[in-house]
């Protein structure tokens, strides 16, 4: 397998992958897998399903290589595919089990550990609020990047983020000044 320079541009790797260079695509997978997995766990709440969603994300990216138009960064493009796959996963799960969304993370239950409480509190947010909060707080994405990844206007990002923080503040008030 060809080893790519870690400094090689994501766009260049994507271009080569589109031309049939499988090693370039595997290099992209290596580069983004951990970040996207973290995001998938935050959005979905359990490791096994997050791994499935991650696989579907890269499969979707591979099948849609030619659809990448270069308007957003590869990172934002992959994030958008992951968010869509996570949404699909939620819809499938609801159809199969008729369960309300967002309770898998909450199922971790109350814990003395603030970190786990934070995860549980994030799991209780609505998917829209959870997405925007996770992209901002964990991924450190800018409002513009979040707007591109979620395909919503920047104003929507601002208002959803504000509401997500207000909701989270209520849930975590024991830890806040």
């Amino acid at each position: 397998m060809v080893q790519y320079n870690p400094e090689a541009d994501d766009i260049e790797l994507l271009r080569r992958a589109g031309a049939g260079d499988s090693a370039a695509f595997h290099a992209l997978v290596d580069r983004h897998a951990q970040r996207l997995y973290r995001l998938a766990v935050s959005l979905i709440g359990n490791a096994a399903d997050a791994e499935d969603v991650l696989q579907e994300t890269f499969i979707g990216a591979f099948r849609g290589l030619r659809s990448f138009q270069g308007r957003a960064s590869v990172k934002t493009w992959l994030t958008r595919i992951l968010v869509l796959q996570a949404g699909q996963w939620r819809r499938d799960r609801r159809r199969r089990r008729f369960e309300p969304m967002g309770d898998s993370i909450a199922a971790a239950g109350p814990s003395a550990e603030a970190g786990l409480d934070v995860r549980a509190a994030i799991g209780q947010l609505s998917p829209e609020h959870r997405e925007v909060l996770v992209l901002r707080e964990f991924e450190r994405m800018s409002y513009e990047e979040i707007a591109e990844a979620l395909d919503v206007p920047r104003g929507t990002v601002e208002s959803r983020l504000h509401r997500a923080r207000s909701e989270l503040r209520e849930k975590l008030k024991a830890y806040l000044p």
Binding site: F25, H26, Y37, E51
Partner: protein, 149 residues
């Protein structure tokens, strides 16, 4: 300056406001206890979120991911080969059909009787005048040659 909305404070916290507005808000936050307290809550919440345990994909998980991607790549290749096979099979069937039709057409165009040799005309023009058709002329020619023996 009036107190900013919570949404504006949130954007300030994220560094998502322009430079002029940022300077104004910094000044305001130094003077307003309520807004200062709100900002402190936002910062504490970000620290809490940052301290939450980060999930990490295991090396086996990474291996599974690459294997799955390989499977999809091979599926794509197999689909391409299958399409090529289908095209080749279609060409073979069409070619065979064309050859069959062409052979039949050639056979129809060919005369059912063998062409008579040029000297048959001599026989048909014989004074007896019996050979009125090429077949009859051929027969007479054969017959006359047998008679020569």
């Amino acid at each position: 300056m009036n107190c900013p909305t919570n949404e504006q404070l949130s954007a300030f916290h994220d560094g998502e406001i322009d430079e002029v507005r940022r300077v104004e808000m910094e000044l305001h936050l130094r003077q307003c206890r309520l807004c200062g307290a709100e900002m402190e809550r936002l910062q504490t919440m970000s620290r809490l979120l940052g301290a939450a345990p980060a999930a990490r994909l295991s090396p086996i998980g990474v291996h599974r991911l690459h294997r799955r991607v390989n499977e999809v790549m091979e599926e794509g290749l197999l689909r391409f080969v299958r399409v090529l096979n289908t095209i080749a099979a279609c060409l073979l069937v069409a070619g065979s059909a064309w050859l069959m039709v062409k052979t039949r057409a050639d056979q129809t165009v060919e005369s059912p009787m063998p062409a008579a040799p040029p000297w048959v005309d001599v026989v048909s023009d014989s004074p007896s005048g019996a050979a009125s058709t090429p077949a009859a002329a051929w027969y007479l020619a054969e017959d006359s040659s047998r008679g020569d023996d």
